[in-house]
Amino acid sequence: MIRFANVCKRYPQRGDALQGVSFHLAAGAMAFLTGHSGAGKSTLLKLIALLERATRGQLFVDGENLSRAPRRRIPMVRRKIGMIFQNHHLLFDRTVFDNVALPLVIAGYRHQEIGRRVRASLDKVGLLGKEKVLPITLSGGEQQRVGIARAVVNKPLVLLADEPTGNLDPDLSRDIMHLFEQFNQVGVTVLIASHDLELISRMPYPRLQLENGRLLNGEIVSKP
């Protein structure tokens, strides 16, 4: 599903963020991306979502060569990917329902279909009944779950999460991780960047370990 072939990313000011990264994450697999801060975790995720372009090398998502994708393809690539961020990136002037519905609105779904899918998605993260609430009134954990509901509402092939548990206490973190496992069980490819080693060491998933922009292990990660 996600394949990197000798990918390099160099920033004009900061120098090399990623050097010669190669790995393959098979469809339906789940893996953690670890490393100290500044190791290149975020950069790697950005490349997958086309928030950044690789300086060298090739990367494929769902068989599509992203290094060759023209600008107008970017939205379509991002629609295959659900992204979850540490600080949620919610719209605070809209209700939970509207936030979760956004990907569907963008993709041009019909009204009834949107309502059905948003409720299903909120149900999955345990927030059904909070549809009409503004996100600002929710706790950090709940906001994160709204972000997850939004990421999965249009049934993406891939889920990317950047430090999804960064601001949460251990219990809430476990709940969130459990959610990701559930999505993975229905066939979504999941890649989670995290430095919460204590948490992920207790989970049976392979790790891609980055250090100073280089991948230390995990050339091929297939479905467990």
Binding site: M83, F85, I106, R150, D162
Partner: protein, 313 residues
């Protein structure tokens, strides 16, 4: 009529965005109204001048349409000869009607209208010449043709003086024409102002919704999707400005309507002010909406590309 599914979806989405943009303006009524007012005034100025000169032009065509040629006959021409001439002129194709005013009739009319009856009694004989008033046929009523006709009439042996009082109408025409042309310059400048005002308003709106744009791009919104609400905002701004301009112009001319009627009445004229016709109203609203759309398009083109989500987490 049944639309294909994708077209129906497309139209529904556009209608939805159009309405939500309108709703956004409605939710900030004061700011929206201020912008619309500025646009309205900018559009009302050239529109008002246009209506004004349109009326002046109509008024002056009424004048030269009623251009009568007066032939003052020589003293030596007797009444029978004058009547003969009248009959002869009546046959001319350029002539609509001919009226003979004998010296006696002229004197009676003058006595009645001028109020100088007593003075006239003191005169020994009638100083007024016979006059033939000619109304040119419609095809010859405008200034140039009437002038040519007058030249021809002047050469008649019975005619002492032929008079066509159209010179000032011509000058008036020329002045109105100049004013009309300068209106287009003014309209172009103020149109540009509308473009810039809408552009700037939309630019501020884009800045205000920076995060939202970033997030929607992150989720996979196309440029078109992000552009659409701003373009509709510009459209609504332009349209509401034009509606306001229309109201301002109608109100201003409504104020003038009564006094102008009264003045026209004093000149025995049925002239009354006319404001914008249906086609002109549609043109004004269309111009406003188009300028709004263009202004928004400029702002969107310049500022949206600059917003790219480049940070995660």
């Amino acid at each position: 009529m049944r639309f294909p599914r994708f077209l129906e979806n497309y139209l529904a989405r556009h209608a939805q965005v159009a309405l939500s943009s309108l709703g956004r303006l409605y939710r900030a009524p004061l700011a929206s109204l201020m912008t619309a007012a500025v646009l309205g005034i900018a559009l009302a100025l050239p529109t008002g001048l246009y209506v004004l000169t349109d009326n002046l032009q109509r008024l002056s065509t009424q004048w030269d349409g009623g251009a009568n040629i007066s032939l003052f006959l020589r003293d030596s021409v007797a009444t029978e000869q004058a009547q003969q001439l009248q009959r002869k002129l009546q046959q001319w194709p350029q002539v609509d009607s001919v009226q003979l005013i004998t010296p006696d009739q002229a004197l009676a009319e003058f006595r009645e209208l001028s109020g100088f009856g007593d003075v006239l009694d003191a005169l020994q004989d009638n100083p007024l010449p016979a006059v033939i008033a000619i109304k040119p046929a419609t095809a010859h009523a405008h200034a140039d043709a009437a002038g040519a006709l007058m030249q021809k009439l002047r050469d008649l042996p019975e005619v002492d003086i032929a008079q066509l009082d159209l010179q000032w109408v011509k000058r008036f025409h020329a002045i109105v024409d100049i004013v009309r042309r300068s209106i287009w310059v003014l309209a172009a400048l103020l149109g540009l102002a509308v473009l810039l005002i809408v552009g700037n308003t939309i630019r501020l709106e884009i800045q205000g919704r920076h995060t939202e744009i970033e997030i929607t791009k992150l989720i996979g919104a196309t440029d078109g999707f992000i552009r659409r609400p701003f373009l509709y905002s510009g459209f609504w701004y332009g349209l509401s400005g034009a509606v306001l301009a229309l109201l301002l112009v109608e109100l201003a001319f409504f104020q003038l309507h009564g006094p102008v009627r009264q003045l026209a009445g004093l000149y025995q004229s049925a002239f009354s002010l006319q404001t914008l016709s249906f086609a002109e109203t549609v043109a004004l609203l269309g111009a406003g909406a188009t300028l709004g759309l263009l202004g928004a398009g400029l702002a969107v083109g310049r500022h949206l590309a600059a917003i790219e989500p480049d940070h995660l987490g």
